[in-house]
Symmetry: C4
Subunit: 210 residues, 4 copies
């Protein structure tokens, strides 16, 4: 029997997961969430695969190392653990949140691979880390979906190095990844990006009569 993972971080992570579920961003066991426990060596707590996020408890969170091996807790880490590790390593994130919302699913169908979604000129952009004015153009890269994230993780790491200023990315017909230095910063950013995606999506459904 392994020791339980970092209890305070796991409890915070479970709370953020239940919040995302309550907003309809993590229905049907979708979505996964992580937070960095230590940097050297890299250790993360991450949600187990296939658990109901509406009832998420710290017991459904495991601690993993930089190769995705379980160090503490019981359960299988999310199949997308390699993405969380890549984001923690490349971008220096302290927490990574991945949601499956209606609007990120729809808007991620927009662009071809190598493409993305631009969001520009909105006050809400100031909620993103380091953005001090609405006169900001956020570029959310859109990457293709896959079922082999171990193989795809270097591609994501490369994209993060190519776009060091980005605060998130979309996976086509799949959802949104965002991150922050802390869990509360990441939570603020997921609210900001989901808000902006919803605004962009609803705006498209509106007949303009300026």
């Amino acid at each position: 029997l392994r020791a339980p993972p970092a209890p305070r971080l796991a409890a915070q992570l479970a709370e953020v997961g239940r919040l995302c579920y309550s907003r309809g961003w993590a229905f049907g066991t979708s979505g996964n969430f992580s937070a960095v426990v230590s940097r050297e060596p890299l250790r993360l707590v991450i949600t187990s695969s296939g658990v109901d996020k509406g009832l998420l408890t710290p017991a459904q969170i495991v601690e993993i190392d930089e190769r995705g091996r379980v160090l503490a807790g019981s359960g299988k880490p999310s199949a997308e653990a390699s993405l969380h590790i890549a984001i923690a390593q490349t971008g220096g994130a302290g927490a990574v949140l991945h949601t499956h919302s209606i609007w990120s699913t729809i808007l991620s169908e927009d662009a071809k691979d190598g493409g993305g979604l631009a969001i520009e000129g909105y006050e809400m952009l100031k909620g993103l880390n380091g953005v001090a004015t609405h006169e900001h153009r956020e570029w959310l890269p859109i990457i293709e979906n896959t079922q082999d994230w171990v193989a795809a993780a270097p591609r994501v790491a490369g994209m993060l190095r190519e776009f060091p200023a980005t605060h998130g990315f979309l996976i086509r017909r799949h959802g949104l990844y965002t991150w922050g230095a802390t869990l509360s910063e990441a939570q603020r950013q997921v609210e900001i990006l989901e808000f902006l995606l919803e605004a962009m999506g609803r705006k498209r459904g509106t007949t303009w009569q300026p």
Copy 2:
């Protein structure tokens, strides 16, 4: 006075019913829900007809046999009990959930009888039982509505044999049926299918500017 139905299953069923109501999928006494108590002989617990799902209690759930006769509890089983029985018999389901959501109502108007709705390429499809990749095409058959489900049950059973891989079906201008080996699997699937129906519906209302 009959004995009460299987108490633990009835309590779980009542909880799932209240959850569906809280999401707007079972307004105004609509929707009905069942779970298999035993296979041989077939016994199901099912919601009584005409009860408010927002206040659903185990006392509003009855136990029926394979011909829809009440064995335990008081109340009239749902008028669609014969559909629940057919699904339990043909597809081997352990729990059957039927919701009346806005999006299933709208999207079920799409196709002619014998038609259906295809949902393809979305990560959320992996929440369906046995689906391991987003490269999956889910075909939801759409059947005509009727007020005589005893007469229509064999037609539904035939459709389930024709499409053994389907995870649900729509009744035109009426709603969604889905099922699972257990109540929690069925609950996960209703969240997945309602999410995908909402995404398909909202996508249609959006002006694309790719």
Copy 3:
């Protein structure tokens, strides 16, 4: 100091009012709700004018007679009390609910005076009192808005006699009226009609690709 109104009915009415508010159907002190205490002579409990329905308590409900005079409780009855009285007298309703939802506001802009909105072929119609099949055509008359409901009440009574089968009506750019023999029947009908109005409204916003 007047005696408080019928306490059990007032408490039920307050609960229904808070439910309507929680669904966004009675924002900003809008909406009003009543229930019949006695028929001969006619006595109703009705929400006071200008109260926040999210915090509605029995103390904000007054009892009135057939001419709208306050018999019990303190507060001014809703300015639309004459409509509630007309509906209770003409249609024999035991409870009357009036909501201001987004969809009833939008859809009531549709038709000219003397016009209305037809809803046909939906299973949810069976939630309306006395409707036994989805093969039903519900005609919701749309009447013009006014600020003098005492003067307009006879016109509404006439419309109810002209359409004795209707389960509700819309006031243009204003909202929905529905009623039932009891408060719970009226609550079921407001859920059914608001659901159908939302479905009709969202369907219009969807690009069909059948």
Copy 4:
């Protein structure tokens, strides 16, 4: 250590802030809220900059003077404090609420500077202070966004003097400001205006078939 700000007003303000957050009008630390403590000299309680409105407590509210200097409590007042002060001074408001909703964001893109949004003929308009009939035309001015509200405050004060009858205004791609003599009046108005903005926005997304 400074003394805490007016405790009862701060507690009410925190409650209104949490309500706005729960409706999705103040995601990701957005939105700010104030109430007048005294008129001569002018003193306001106002939310601190950058706090999560879903967890808003009186400890995150500061008291400021007419030049935005902190008199009580700890924390930095909102960057838009000068706007709140201008509205309290020019319009005589006792409470000012500023929300970042989806619909105010979208609809504020409509008009050029000096322009605005007209809302006319809706019963819900009667929820605005001093409006006694639906035959009312509300003109919501739309002003350009900026990051220097100290410099922009005189422009806003001028606009309020130009349109003394207005109950709110929009900042482009940013959100809504409204106010009232008391916090509960301001809360009623934010519900009314957000309802009307949502109705206008959804109406645009609907294909009319009158």
